[in-house]
């Protein structure tokens, strides 16, 4: 989804597995699930976590906020999990396989999972849950994932999902499918109105006490099928003010904080009782700079204004602009160093899907000037701004730049970018806009030249790569008006490719095409910063590429220090 800043609404785009066993192949692993240490809970203790928000709903179908999904990951299990390195791992489904024609997926469900109320979980619960999320159209997110399946439960440990077309992203469709107990939910005639305060699931923690906007208390599930957590209790406390959150950690009021301001990093790093962890966020995100390059003949007939600057449809101009952004300096200045230079629409947090082989456009103003000279954009009147070519319907290279006014860093970023661009004879007028207004000038109206915005991603790369399809120009998903038949053909092929390696090659090629054609410049990928006390609990999961200490991969294994 288009993301405008805070942890706001990254919701479904995030994920994690209750499985802590890291590396495992996609289809054949045993259901040993979480590799917790001893299964005992003798160590005990209460982990206190400070976070900035609070869940918006305890009903998985209704939730939008990331905090709600954090709870679901702890309280519910999903058929398939996603570990912090981006691998799909078995969870309730001990293995899964696809038929030769790619139209039928069979999952084997573990036989020892038990709901918090003592009822054993069977394939009927899995079928019920998948259909629950699929069929309620007024759940905001979850229906998108199982929408292509017909679901059967032929025996208590088998679930069969049929599709009309092969799908390449089966695993990613299962990672948000929280399995709820049929015997509790089937009585709800209107599942959207169900507040689900008891949150009966099969996960490693169960709901103890909840106060909206204040705190959540979870108790370790002493009967957890994949290994009992080491601690007795986990408390999430809402501490809205970022400085108060940092103080709470330093004073020992909390043992870990899930988010903090970049400005506090050096203070916390100098505290010997505190460890700061930096890495990819659980829901990888990126900032982007995109160009209005919609061709006249593809201007959306109903909504299109298509007032984009004609020169931006020229690849030479976009290439020169790409050479004129110093991503590292932008990160150092605007983000205090906390970002990773970006390159493609698939962020590095998506693991193997990220094409790590692509060379970026070097920051080289001389080369950029040369490209524009060669392409015939000359500053003939000597005012410092290059003129358009004669056949183009424009005067000079003056671009409108917009960004959402709820972004803290965009103002500095675009001042920098505008400065670099002025050195290659490109002028710009910068105007921040309210996100709703930005949407209305963006797409599918195409009433802009350049926009700086961003995305939070789905675990599957197919989602964001859909934003550059010809077919999405009218729908408003395409922000650029980019249209390339070769790219579209690759997109269609990867969508039905069930072999992960073949699909990965296609996804990599698509990223290469986008980098060459430059509908987007990706200044950076977001980084997450968390911190924990070293003197209270130990065993936090810090070695993975993603940082998410609130994830079951940490909370299932942490134990009191010393």
């Amino acid at each position: 989804m288009r993301r405008s800043g805070i942890a706001l609404l990254i919701g479904v785009v995030m994920v994690l597995s209750a499985c802590t066993s890291g590396e495992s192949s996609t289809t054949t692993s045993e259901a040993d699930g979480a590799g917790t240490t001893d299964g005992g809970s003798s160590a005990g203790g209460t982990v206190r976590i400070g976070w900035g928000g609070s869940p918006d709903s305890l009903n998985p179908g209704n939730a939008v906020l990331a905090e709600a999904y954090t709870l679901y990951e702890l309280i519910y299990d999903t058929p398939i999990g996603l570990d912090l390195d981006g691998n799909y791992v078995p969870e309730l489904a001990s293995d899964w396989s696809v038929s030769d024609d790619g139209l039928m997926w069979t999952m084997t469900i573990v036989d020892n999972a038990v709901f918090h109320d003592g009822t054993p979980l069977t394939s009927e619960d899995v079928k019920f849950s998948l259909e629950l999320w699929r069929d309620n159209e007024d759940f905001p997110f979850l229906p998108s994932y199982p929408d292509v399946f017909t679901i059967e439960a032929p025996d208590p440990t088998t679930v069969v999902l049929s599709t009309e077309e092969a799908i390449g992203n089966f695993e990613s469709r299962m990672v948000f499918m929280y399995i709820v107990p049929k015997h509790i939910w089937e009585g709800e005639t209107d599942p959207v109105a169900f507040d689900n305060v008891n949150m009966i699931g099969t996960g490693s923690f169960s709901m103890l006490e909840y106060r909206q906007g204040e705190f959540v208390r979870l108790a370790a599930n002493e009967d957890y099928w994949a290994g009992v957590p080491n601690v007795d209790e986990v408390i999430f406390q809402t501490i809205e003010n970022p400085d108060a959150r940092v103080t709470a950690l330093r004073n020992g009021d909390v043992d870990m904080i899930t988010e903090m301001p970049n400005t506090a990093i050096s203070t916390l790093e100098s505290d010997s009782n505190v460890e700061v962890v930096i890495g990819d966020p659980l829901a990888p995100g990126l900032s982007d700079i995109f160009f209005n390059m919609v061709p006249e003949e593809l201007c959306p007939p109903e909504d299109g204004v298509c007032s984009g600057h004609p020169a931006l449809r020229d690849l030479q101009v976009r290439t020169a602009l790409a050479h004129s952004i110093d991503k590292q300096q932008l990160i150092d200045v605007a983000l205090l160093g906390l970002g990773e230079p970006g390159i493609s629409l698939v962020p590095s947090g998506l693991g193997d899907w990220y094409n790590s082989s692509l060379p970026d456009y070097a920051f080289d103003l001389d080369a950029a000037n040369q490209i524009l000279d060669d392409a015939g954009y000359l500053d003939s009147d000597g005012d410092g701004v290059r003129e358009c070519r004669e056949e183009q319907d424009c005067d000079d290279l003056t671009f409108r730049i917009n960004y959402p006014n709820d972004s803290d860093t965009a103002p500095r970023e675009m001042e920098l970018v505008s400065g670099w661009w002025s050195e290659i004879g490109v002028a710009s007028t910068i105007q921040p806009l309210d996100p709703d207004t930005l949407t209305s000038v963006c797409c599918p109206t195409f009433d802009f030249d350049v926009i700086r915005w961003g995305w939070g991603t789905d675990p599957d790369p197919g989602f964001l790569l859909g934003a550059t399809l010809c077919s999405e120009i009218d729908s408003g998903f395409s922000e650029t008006g980019y249209c390339n038949d070769d790219y579209d053909a690759l997109y269609d092929a990867q969508a039905v490719e069930t072999d992960p390696e073949t699909r990965r090659e296609m996804i990599w090629e698509m990223q290469e095409i986008l980098l060459r054609d430059l509908p987007y410049i990706i200044p950076y990928y977001d980084q997450a910063v968390q911190a924990y006390r070293v003197d209270t609990f130990t065993g936090w999961m810090t070695g993975a590429s993603k940082v998410a200490l609130e994830d079951p991969s940490s909370l299932n294994v942490v134990r009191p220090a010393g």
């Binding site: 989804m1 288009r2 405008s4 706001l8 609404l9 919701g11 209460t46 400070g50 609070s54 918006d56 709903s57 305890l58 009903n59 209704n62 939008v64 159209e137 007024d138 905001p140 997110f141 229906p143 998108s144 959207v192 109105a193 169900f194 507040d195 689900n196 103890l208 006490e209 106060r211 909206q212 906007g213 204040e214 705190f215 208390r217 209790e233 408390i235 406390q237 809402t238 501490i239 809205e240 003010n241 400085d243 108060a244 959150r245 103080t247 709470a248 004073n251 009021d253 996100p435 709703d436 207004t437 949407t439 209305s440 989602f463 859909g466 934003a467 999405e472 729908s475 408003g476 998903f477």
Partner: protein, 336 residues
């Protein structure tokens, strides 16, 4: 005289009811002028298909005409009349952002939390502010007066969030007070006394912040009011009779000087339900102020309407009470 006051009270009550109705209607339309689609909140996700957005709009009743139904059928089949009808039954609707929560639950919880914070702060600031104002007026022109006056002016003009952050750092780092929350979460107490101490420790910083900010206002009004009264002729007469200063103040000056304070107290209490937004934010207090801010960000119209209704009713009610009290204190008011 008695019928005069009854007529006065009746008139004021009717006027208050009309005011609340106008506010309800105004708020209803005010929020709908905001850009954006409340069905999806601040959320723009291409996977939200048009069908699903339509389903969400249907659930929230957003497909109906806003004011009156001009598309044929019953004129009253509109969002506005549906809202009024539900309101008449005490139903404030269901939150858009907290999709499975009735607005009345959300508001009720937040109101209790807000009162928990604001009431002690009000009581402390009233007692301390009035006392300090009286004392300063009594010692008018001395160093004590100048000191108290400067202190009050500074407190009154300090941004609340700044004072809150400063107190938070001092209290948390040097005194060891908790940084957030109303109680120690999940704590088991040996005695009721332990529980009270825990509550007091959590209340101390936010209450002190709010009380200090409010105190300045009470002190300044009280002081100037007492100074005014002390320059009246009848005080001079009392002095001439040889009464002691303390007797003059307690018997003659205080009652008259309290009139403006009564107004201020009632108005401040009325605004209590708007929550102390800044204090609630600094100290993560889950009160009405916080709920309102998040509702604005997420276009949660039902919660906003509920919060504003609550605010309107309490402010109007507070004004009504002041006017009725005044009609008792000063009979000339009800004859006007």
């Amino acid at each position: 005289m008695r019928t005069g006051r009854r007529r006065f009270v009746t008139r004021k009550v009717v006027f208050a009811a009309v005011t609340v109705f106008v506010v309800v209607t105004f708020n209803f339309f005010l929020f709908r002028v905001l850009p954006g689609d409340p069905a999806v909140g601040g959320l723009r996700d291409p996977r939200l298909s048009p069908e699903r957005v339509a389903a969400l709009q249907e659930r929230f009743g957003l497909n109906d005409p806003v004011f009156v139904n001009l598309e044929g059928g019953n004129l009253l089949e509109s969002q506005y009349f549906a809202y009024l009808g539900a309101l008449a039954h005490g139903d404030l609707g269901t939150s858009y952002a907290f999709r499975d929560q009735p607005v009345s639950n959300l508001l009720g919880t937040a109101l209790v939390n807000t009162v928990w914070l604001v009431l002690p702060a009000q009581v402390i600031s009233i007692v301390a502010g009035v006392g300090l104002g009286l004392f300063a007026a009594y010692r008018r022109g001395t160093k004590v007066d100048v000191g108290a006056l400067s202190f009050s002016l500074i407190m009154w003009s300090l941004p609340t969030f700044f004072l809150g952050i400063v107190l938070l750092f001092i209290g948390a780092n040097w005194v060891g007070l908790p940084t957030a929350g109303r109680v120690t979460i999940g704590a088991l107490y040996d005695t009721t006394w332990d529980q009270l101490v825990d509550i007091a420790r959590h209340l101390l910083l936010p209450t002190a912040t709010l009380a200090l900010v409010l105190l300045g206002e009470y002190m300044l009004i009280m002081r100037s009011s007492v100074v005014d009264v002390l320059s009246e002729d009848y005080i001079l007469t009392a002095k001439a009779e040889g009464l002691s200063t303390s007797r003059i103040i307690s018997r003659h000056a205080l009652r008259n000087a309290l009139l403006p304070i009564v107004t201020l107290i009632a108005l401040n209490l009325g605004f209590t339900v708007s929550g102390a937004i800044q204090v609630e934010t600094v100290f993560s207090w889950p009160g009405l102020g916080q709920l309102t801010v998040s509702a604005v960000n997420q276009r949660d119209f039902p919660v906003l309407q509920g919060a504003f209704l609550l605010l309107a009713i309490s402010v109007v009610l507070a004004n009504l009470v002041v006017e009725i009290i005044y009609s008792w204190l000063d009979p000339r008011v009800s004859e006007a």
